[in-house]
Amino acid sequence: MLREDNCPRCGHVIKGQALASEWGICNDCTHHLDIDPRQRITLLTDSDSFIEFAGELTSSNPIGIDGYAEKIAQNQKRSDLTDAVITGSCTIGSYKAILAVMSFRFMGGSMGSVVGEKITQAMFKGALEHTPVIICTASGGARMQEGIFSLMQMAKTSSAAALLDRLGIPLFIILTNPTTGGVTASFAMLGDVILAEPGALIGFAGPRVIEGTIGERLPAGFQTAQFQLERGFVDAIVDRRKLKETLAYLLGMHQYKKIKRTMRNVPKKEETQVISGEQGDLVSSVGTMENMVDVEAPSPSRSSWDRVLLARQQCRPGVDTYIKLICENFMELHGDRYYQDDPAMIGGIGTIGGYQVTIIGNRKGSNLKENVLRNYGMSNPEGYRKALRLAKQAEKFHRPVICFIDTPGAYPGLESEQRGIGEAIARNLKEFSMLKTPIICFITGEGGSGGALGIGIGDKLYMLENAVYSVITPEGYASILLRDPSRAKEAAEAMKITARDLKRFNIIHDIIEEVPEGAHANPAYTAQKIKDTILKDLAILCRKPADTLVRYRIKKIRGIGMGKYASSWWDPLLQIFRDVQNRVEH
């Protein structure tokens, strides 16, 4: 199965080694070697489940190149493949999937009409059968011998991917070594989830071409899977031995739900946990909130400034702790697909009490080293764009979104401005307000102004007891308005930034309890309260049609600070919604 006796990276002998012969992995340096596509199919799919289709397709030599037919015949004989990709249907972890595996061994994995057609057929089959499509890519680029027809395969495969996207059918890509050229610039980068094997070369132009063009040596690690992960173009790097279980997990999280305009993303009763407490409905919960205006705040036990300090403490539990305590499983997905993976923002998919959800959160560090790496929880535009990408995916696959907010603010740096931090936050405010899926937001620590609001638009907004949410830091307020930065304590009191204040103002729905010393003393207690809230809300929200959700969300946002004057603008707004719906229907 392996063509080499020695590992091409470290040079050690791999012939006869168990790890190498079974998985194609060097046992000394864990370099992932090229393996036979049929071997890969055996490793990925349930045994005997793979049924090939379109295996009879071969190239007709469309532009009449001399010697091309012979080259094809030669490659077919040597590799036991008809062309550079095998397509078929299969099951992975008992979930149905359409699988396409490309092979570098057949003419360098180059994409010509046959590869393009087979990939397109695989995607169409997925569309017709409502089955997720998985493609393992390996390619040196377009098949030059087929001229312009090779180039057009990029358009063909990409528009098929567009169809899958429109129909809400998942496309999962596994980038293997190497994936370059026309394949990278078409369907390979269009997956809903893009995985990569460790050490894979992934890029558009080949390294030698780039070096020749710029006249410089390329930096170490350029165009590797790790590089693409850091640059935000790959969701996760997965060791070949873990690929099957990861794909099974992803398939399980993306099972097709027959949904028209009503949300039925509700797990069966046995799967969810029983939550005590009233099962209110959307209208009445909005109603109770409006009645809460002007309620007097009880005298607080902790001063506002003390809460600010507590919210900023390094040991305060963050999104990572809550994910661990609340979710049954969680897979982090990286990257914004534009520029970078922001380490200050975490995003991914997981399960809470049987509900499949997308989780987004600000991420601080628990020690100095982590804080420097995560920029103290201050996101660049990439963080907000990653949040948006994952929220849009949640909308497509009908998953609720849970946001955990804890940030001093968006990062006010040079590069932030260069890449449009303002635009990133603004776009999130716009898109999240109309997202056709439930959104529940929790402020667990610092709600730092626009940086917090960028992932803080939701159907429900909660604050932890000691969390704070403000338009500017108390220090900033003291500097500018009180003209004395040392009066931050006073400013904190005056600004009304605590959970109690915001509940009184009708901005948040409820306050989540912490133990008296603070959440850090018993994170599990607060985590349980958060989980109960999520399950209670999802039980209601998931039963509502998406349009209704959006309508009430807009109503809540529109009504902030309006208090008694609600009725005057509600009816005209309702009319607008009806008009929009009518236009869509006809």
Binding site: G365, S366, N367, L368, K369, E370, N371, V372, L373
Partner: protein, 449 residues
Amino acid sequence: MIRSILIANRGEIALRIIRACRDLGIRSVAVYSNADVDSLHVKMADEAVCIGGPTPADSYLNGSNIITAACLTRCDAIHPGVGFLSENSRFAKATENSGLIFIGPDSETIALMGDKIEAKRIAKAIGVPTTIGSEGPLADMQTALSYAEAVGYPVILKAAAGGGGRGMRIIENRSQMPEMFAAATKEALSYFADGNLLLEKFIGNARHVEVQLLADSFGNVIHLGERDCSVQHHHQKLIEESPCAALDEKTKVRMTDAAIEIFKHIGYRGAGTVEFLLYNDEFYFMEVNTRLQVEHPVSEMVCGIDIVQQQIHIADKEALPFSQEEVTLTGHALECRINALSPGKIENYIPCGGPWVRIDSHIYSHYSIGCHYDHLLAKIIVHTSHRNHSIRVMKRALQELVIEGIVTNRDQQLQVLDTMQFKTGQFSTNLFDQVMSVQKSQTRKKAYA
């Protein structure tokens, strides 16, 4: 996996650690004070960060600046080198708390062994002979006097939290005690912030022999031979060699076994040294150095193992790749330290070389030696098959060495190597003072002649 290391030190040891990093493909980050801008370790590292002003307190002893520099440059670990913060348990703890790896033992071990009294207690408890003296810190001068009476003069007062030869006073008789006690307490307080002293019987003509050990985080402890560091001046080592010329095989085995026993008992991790006094074929435990030592190249030449690299591997949670049986000690290695006796600018520097000669140095032509730090310029290390051969090659190497513009101790070293005592291997810690006093009287004779 440690991929980048910040070296919290300067001079030739920083260079040594950078070289080990280079050989392992690890990114090195140097730190420097304003006075060290032109230093070689700054030029050689992959990255360098200025961490403060010229005084050590501002820079090389500034733990928070160093840790912040490590986090800002995305380092995985800090190597503390020798001296400075290498035996500071609070710094080790702060490093670990910041999410970085401290290349050395854990902070508790450093604190434990840093207390000389505690260290002796532990050694005694497991049956290793220790130098006779006070069992605990001296409550006051009266207690010191009574102990001194018990063990007999001469005695030595040592700072309990001390190291590097500081905070020590030798007392010949009763009358010297008040003055020396006060002076030692004061020096201990100022250098180590701990005025506790202990008292020991002073053996003037003992040999200082230490054992180099490596211990991983899986409980494996091995020794890399012993070093004789008896040629000292004011407790500062000048010449070191391995193996010790006056150590017979049986005593050597007992000594290395005792050292290994101590390290296993305290669960030591990393490179470390156990120091003994050798007197009349008997050895007495003195203290443990929980760090790399300046004279480590002597052991490296004899056993063929890169000790700094092993420190990094151990910190990376790897097991020692060899057992005691696989460690072979061959030949004889000798090291001479070349110190500057005055600050100034090196007008011309031509290093020595040739077969069997290794030179660890950070100096170069036109480099200025300041007054803020220690005066070690270079370590000349020679490794041959026999002691006589090593001495001959060392003399040749020292004569080749050219350092013009400042006064060095090169000639003094040559004198020591020329003495009959050194050549026959029959010398002790008072050799250097003897040589210098002989020289003084000779000079005086010449003056009067």
